[in-house]
Amino acid sequence: MSPVIRVENLTHIYSPGTPFEVTSLDGISLEINKGEFFAIVGATGSGKSTLVQHFNGLLAPTCGKVWVCGADAADKKVRRDLWRRVGLVFQRPEQQFFEETIFEDVAFGPKNMGLNKGEVRERVSKALRLVDLDPEQAGKQSPFQLSGGNMRRAAIAGVLALGPEVLVLDEPTAGLDPRGRWQLLDHIESFRREQGITVVLVTHNMEEVGARAERVAVLNKGRLALQGTPREVFNRAEELLALGLDLPAPTALMRKLREAGLPVRADILTSTEAEEEIAKVLSQRGTALRI
């Protein structure tokens, strides 16, 4: 797999040379592979948002290099086009709706790409279908008539309509109810598979990282603290807790069981895995099945 994003010793300093100077990223190196589901976690202020804004050209490195889709993002010409290749969905994207119909709002991006009417319509329909919204209804409904979860999906469709190779989502499930959260993650997973889009998920929700991410990077104060598969990273529980981060609830639970003396695996990611592992260990100890 080739990296679609490569970050080499990236440093970013806000307001350099002024009294407000802040080093937001300090020598970060990482690679994100094409088609991967990659998560970025870290406490508030760890540099997550700063990092991903280098992926779509909103920010340029102070030092170090960022390669996106094989091109050096330090080049202004490259950065100018990155917004189409790397779609960035900020938090609460539905707060950016401004058109009268869902169709018009999703069409905004493609229109700005200079496509003709037919191409725009095609892009909008495709994008809406990717998030399971009805293109027929889209022309008649206002974005504000949708439920919270659907609004969120329509907003994401607006970015998908650009046809990006990489989709960066900043807390896409924040404020959604549990069903809405998992439905949205399912949609993201399905269009990742169908379209081969690389997904970068910036989140505080460790359960989502455990359930969906293939690899995760943990940031702390602008530095890369940990990296690996969710199982590898969540296994380093003491370090995560010292960084002020959490484990997914099932993982934390298994650790507590180990501490209480039950020899269960602690590299568990979901409630289902936890249940299976506990049942296995209990039966190995000959615990009678009683209902």
Partner: protein, 278 residues
Amino acid sequence: MFIQVTGLTYTYGRGRPGESRGLSGVSLEIRKGEYVAVVGPNGSGKSTLARHLNALLLPTAGQVLVDGLDTALPENVWEIRRRVGMVFQNPDNQIVSSLVEEDIAFGVENLGVPAEEVRERVEEALALTELSEFRQHAPHLLSGGQRQRLAIAGVLAMRPSCLVLDEPTAMLDPVGRRQLSDLLQRLNQSRGVTVVLVTHFMEEAAQAGRVIVMSAGKIVLDGTPPEVFANFERLGELGLDLPAAAKIARGLKRRGIFMPDDILTAEDLVREVIKAAR
């Protein structure tokens, strides 16, 4: 009885196209000192209900009494808002000043309270929210969790007897969430502040003394956390979750391993699994 809601109905956009029922005949009572969590899927009416508790919204039908005061009467609004403080999801929408201690003082000053007392209340609010060391800082330089605590500090300085919070941890990281939950527990237990917490996080709801589940503008479940979370199928139908420990306990039960019905926290589960291992 501190809050009495009787037959509360609220219709959005009444008389206009697209009008919709936010609440349908909701009745409930909240006693002083209770810690109530309100959960439900998006669109269930949780936030709408919360906003009626300090007269931000007024009933289309029915009545809301706060400490005996009818929210529908304009002359009561001031008094009601002294008793019930509201905290919203986005701290940045609630912070008005460029200095932490000034922001906390803002609401209190508007009450016409003498300067000496303002200072006293600001000190108290800073201490309660553990923001004393940041008193001279600019709010926008604080972390999200700290800003949310600042928003709460501003409300606490008004010395309300009740705090209503609408998904206050939605935009916070895990540390921020934990700190806020701890703060609410402290306020409720050592200061007797009534807490009404609207949340999507089942682990937070499990910490309350009482959980109210809403769906489509109505209350569908109301009881202690163990009582409410025992309704696994119903919660699942509503698209809600159980706290992880409860989910795992149910799973183990289905596999024939005995687990009591009231497991909610990690500690509960660990205790029962260790017991089962003996």
